[in-house]
Amino acid sequence: MRNLDVFGSTRSAVTVAAAIGLLALTCSSTAHAQDNGVTPSEISIGAIGALTGPLAFIGTPGRDSMTVAFNEINANGGVCGRKLHLGFEHASSPAESIAAVKKLVEQDKVFILVLASGSTGAAAAADYVRQAGVPTYNIYGSTPIIRNPFAKNVFHGAVVPVEVSAAALISMFYDDGYMPKKFGILAGTYAFPQATLKAAQDILKQKGRDFTVEQFDIGARDFTSQLVALQRQSVDSVLVLGSFSEAGFAIKQAREMGMANARWVVDGSAVSTAIIPILGNADGIRGYYNAPAFPGQTPATREFEARLKKHLGSMPQGRPSVYDLIGYGSGYVVAEAIKATNCQLTRDHLIDAWSNLKDAGPAVLGGLDITFPESYTPTDHQGVYRIGAAIVKDGQWQVYRVIDKP
């Protein structure tokens, strides 16, 4: 009774108790909302990728173009009445990737995690994201480590599995009636070239083709030894698995050695405008492209380039790259997946909605149609199986055919 005296009357005590209860409930509800990265005004999306160092050509476009997409979506009212907020953590090495993912999930408590780090980061984070159960969108990693075993919370966007890209790369050697006699593969020793290398070797073995493999370290600029080895083996068709700078300097040196007549096919990460100034004349070089058209090839890609330039101030050399196009498209896919929950913003609802998403892409929400549409099923979380075959003609990259799941 003494306690009740403090409040003056029983009625007052009940009122205060109710208020405290209501407050506690509100706090608990807010805490719950913040636990999954959703507040009444904002949905938090966390992403990792390299912003500096040799893999920055993947992460930096990811951050920039997803930001462009989210800005457009937010300018049109956001999704489910909330703005999309991108928190981007730099991560280059496997250790940095795991630390960044843990921070985003456990500390920042993001609603969706985007792996914009390529295969290195995706492979490093794979076990953790499967265990954490947070909806994860792998937009650049081609590594099988993030794909197998299947996890219901992990989705893969425009970058196709290595078996698909490797088959597309090999098929490009036979375009226009060319018949390779002996294949040479120049592969980087780091994660994503190694993943494609294994798949390419499997395909060539299955087909009974003669091939030889030479490897180089990340950021290599001198390929004399590898090229001499390829020349000794009388290779006439070379597949380069590495970045545009590595592929560019390898091909440049090969030409200096008199290997100008070989057919060169480069990995998707080397299909960039930045390879052209390295080579001077890059005509005839082929590679796969994870988008239906190259920047500058269609009005939509030209408009995207203008919007990205406006966002960045000035366009860095080699941009927009395929990673820009994918980043932009992926930003819209994220928004569509959230919208598909009918605004029941829990992670379980999101995973269910995403698993049934069909033909998702920027065009659906009024963005620029510059990527392949993404479709998912509850048992197949690979959104895209299409790939573009690209070639340099008159100093410009262009997609010359679209390959449907080779």
Binding site: L51, A56, S225, Q317
Partner: protein, 292 residues
């Protein structure tokens, strides 16, 4: 087979000439000031970036880069000596070396922050077809790098050996008090040494830009090779630096081509350890031997 060997050796000489120019820049600063300038790689990277600006961004001819960049980088290096390192002159050697290490990192990171891109490509100097001598393809760019870099290195050695500037630097290195009594100014000679080191770094940058492109990693790659070349040749010997650079370039190229590509990276450190253990004064030291 012989043409392949010729190409491998030529490629080794090309990179070796660039290592030689880098090592010479390190040796010039070290000989005059007893400081190992670990910011030298960053200066070379700035030189390469300068040639990107001149040739690609502004569309000026290459000769403008060869004329302007070395002087600009020399001025930057001398300014850094004046503003930062002069204040550390009384500090112990370790402090000065650490200062140059972090100076290099600061310059590299500054470049990274202002121009965040993986690689800036600089076009080749010559578009004309290569020469073929006894089956060996020799591009004009390769010839230019080898001849140009080695001539620049020889000119620098001549200046260092016979010029008044070089005499001052050598006198300062041998005996500071004695050199002062002979009328040489410590401030003047130190600044001149840093200027000359900067000029050589800038020149290395202009030569290397079309060969490797411009990236932040360039500063580490070039300082590592230059340092190893300097130690192999003899860190107090400009002539040794040049020979050490050529030896390193050819050894790297041959070991990678006829051993394994993975050996390219380890051969330089293997040579470094061998020289440090058995001939610490370097393979081509100055007359009076001096330990590294």
């Amino acid at each position: 087979m012989l043409s392949q060997l010729g190409f491998v050796v030529l490629a080794g000489i090309k990179f070796g000439a660039l290592y030689a120019l880098t090592a010479l820049g390190l040796v010039v600063v070290h000989k005059a000031t007893k400081t190992v300038n670990f910011a030298h790689g960053a200066f070379a990277m700035l030189g390469a970036f300068g040639s990107f600006l001149i040739v690609v961004n502004w569309g000026w001819p290459y000769w403008a880069a060869y004329l302007m960049i070395p002087i600009a980088i020399g001025v930057i290096a001398a300014t850094i000596e004046f503003l930062i390192l002069r204040r550390l002159r009384q500090a112990d050697m370790f402090t000065v070396v650490i200062a140059t290490v972090f100076l290099g990192i600061a310059l590299s990171e500054g470049f990274r922050l202002t121009y965040n891109t993986e690689l800036l490509a600089v076009p080749s100097l010559f578009a004309a077809p290569p020469f073929i001598v006894a089956g060996v393809v020799i591009t004009r760019d390769t010839m230019w790098v080898i001849v140009g870099a080695l001539l620049a290195a020889l000119a620098c050695i001549a200046v260092f050996r016979y010029g008044r500037i070089g005499r001052g630097m050598r006198a300062m290195a041998a005996n500071i008090r004695g050199a002062q009594l002979c009328g040489y100014s410590i401030d003047g000679v130190y600044m001149l040494a840093w200027f000359l080191g900067g000029v050589l770094a800038g020149l290395t940058g202009v030569f290397i830009a079309p060969v490797t492109g411009v990236s932040v990693d360039l500063s580490i790659a070039i300082i590592t090779a230059g340092f190893v070349a300097g130690v192999i040749g003899g860190f107090d010997s400009p002539r040794g630096a040049v020979l050490g650079g050529l030896l390193l370039g050819v050894a790297e190229s041959l070991s990678a081509a006829y051993g394994s590509s993975a050996m390219k990276n380890c051969i330089s450190f293997l040579l470094l350890f061998l020289v440090l253990m058995w001939r610490p004064q370097g393979l081509f030291p100055e007359r009076s031997g001096r330990s590294v």
